[in-house]
């Protein structure tokens, strides 16, 4: 379980998050929503240990370990997998190499064959370099690469960003497939429809750097007021 308590983080002297409390349990998909600039990506980066921002207070505990200040490679070894915003695949490596460089074996876990079965398109493109993939393929590769590390917590930062509706539908299907396996998913999204269709629970960040709303996805779906107040642009 991921448990975040009173987390504060800052870019230089500008504090972005001012006391976040959040839990993500194994087997559930939690969506993190909020308008642009509310600190969604900062929160995910703090959890993954990618700098900046710098965590200035509070704790992040994962699977019983205090990982608040652990280096990111140690967090990855503890079972966190990041699908970063903007995909960030290895552009000069082939699809096959992008996946194998990430591989960390686990009994009955993800391996190359499983990832190729999950995203058949990646197998078709296995010999192409990252830079020659379309946006959707890069997103599949970023997800596949994170799965190759056999994470128990998958952090996905805006997987739908800049993708065609047909591709988003495919990504949605895959996240739904992940749900219920022994994996926890924290999904940052701008796309409310996608978030509501896959998430069990939702947290919305407000403009004070705190959680402004949280509850079941179905509750948010029915709560027009919260949607208007916290998400409408």
């Amino acid at each position: 379980m991921l448990s975040i308590e009173n987390l504060r983080c800052a870019y230089g002297t500008a504090e972005i998050l001012r006391g976040i409390d959040m839990d993500v349990h194994v087997g559930e998909v939690v969506a993190l929503l909020g308008r642009n600039g509310m600190g969604k990506t900062s929160l995910v980066r703090s959890v993954a240990g990618t700098r900046p921002p710098v965590v200035s207070g509070g704790t992040i505990r994962w699977a019983g370990t205090d990982t608040t200040h652990a280096p990111s490679h140690e967090r990855a070894r503890l079972g966190m997998g990041l699908v970063p915003q903007g995909r960030h695949v290895f552009s000069s490596l082939t699809v096959h190499e992008n996946l194998t460089v990430a591989a960390r074996r686990r009994q009955n876990g993800w391996d190359l064959d499983e990832v190729y079965a999950f995203f058949p398109r990646l197998q078709e493109r296995s010999r192409s370099r990252g830079r020659n993939l379309s946006g959707g393929e890069q997103q599949m590769l970023a997800i596949g690469r994170a799965l190759m590390t056999n994470p128990q917590l998958l952090l996905m930062d805006e997987p739908s960003e800049g993708l065609a509706p047909a591709v988003i539908a495919q990504i949605r299907e895959r996240i739904q497939q992940l749900k219920g396996s022994d994996i926890a998913v924290l999904l940052v999204e701008q796309n409310l429809g996608l978030a509501l269709s896959v998430a069990d629970r939702v947290y919305i960040l407000g403009d004070e750097g705190r959680v402004a709303w949280h509850g079941q996805a179905s509750e948010l779906e029915a709560d027009d007021d919260a949607q208007q107040r916290l998400l409408a642009v």
């Binding site: 990618t50 990111s72 490679h73 960030h88 290895f90 490596l93 082939t94 460089v101 010999r127 020659n132």
Partner: protein
Amino acid sequence: MSLTTKVKLGLLATGIAAGVALPYLTSPFIIGIVTLALVFGLFAMSIDVLAGFGGLVTVGQAGIFAVAAYGVGYTATHLDGGHVLQVAVGLAAGIAISVIFAIMAMRTSGVYFLMVTLAQGMIVWGLAYRLAPITGAENGLRGILRPPAVSAYWTYYYLVLAIVALAGGLLWIVTRSPVGLALRGLRDGEDRLRMLGYNTAFHKAYVFVLSGLFATIAGILYVYLNQFISPAASEFATSGHGLLMAILGGTGTLVGPLIGAFVIVFAENMLSTYVERWTTLLGAVFVITILFARGGLVGMLSQAWPRVLARFGHPAASGDAGAGSPPGAALDGTAHATSNPHGITTEDDQRSSR
């Protein structure tokens, strides 16, 4: 499309056969230059591992090269050690300095890595001048004799040929191993590797020492070739030369630096007889390479290859755009052979224009 495996193997076999036959075909003078080119080829390959594959542009590799050479020279001239001891001290000194340099450089990248390695090279150069009791300062160390079995120019040539071939083969295996894969990942983004669980600082240090080991071997071969070592070997220019050879031949290819070394060493030794300002010429060639052939000579060849095939009516003259290009993007991030001399629309083009 790259050169096919068959063609590559053919070229390799031709190269080895030519290497073995050479002493029967040409003069001792030429053999001497070829031996020097092989030594610098290995040196440039060691730079290519860091700069070409990992995007870690080093300009201090001559420091490691020279420390190994001085290790051999000092043992030979001051300690009267046998050849086994000389080589052992050379190896130990080169590896030790690589480890120290690696620890200094492992937390830096980009231009900071370049500056750290520059400083490292300058330190060795400064010490080579100042530590006269060990290095002989400007006079250097003379009379470092080769082992009797390889004292003749042509036997030493065969030794160098064998060691460089072996070392090149080992480096080729390294670059295709998981270590090499992560090294190439490093070039695309250190953060990306770290979030996959790689301790990138440690990984950099590891590759740095590995590269230093091959620079060490080159240094030892160099000192026995010249039977003399002076601070000139540790100069910035030596590191720069090595980097230039890698860029001219094609970074990220291993065979490129070897070809680059031959071009530059031959230009240096032959051209300088006819052209007074041959370094100007070399500079011009370098600028042209950077501007028009970022994949270096190897990149140009693999780009031209499909055209050659097409001329002879070979059907398989197109393919995946990226796969054939040498990863020569170390220094600019974008360079790659653009695949498509015939205007045949590949799948890649269709996708990117969608």
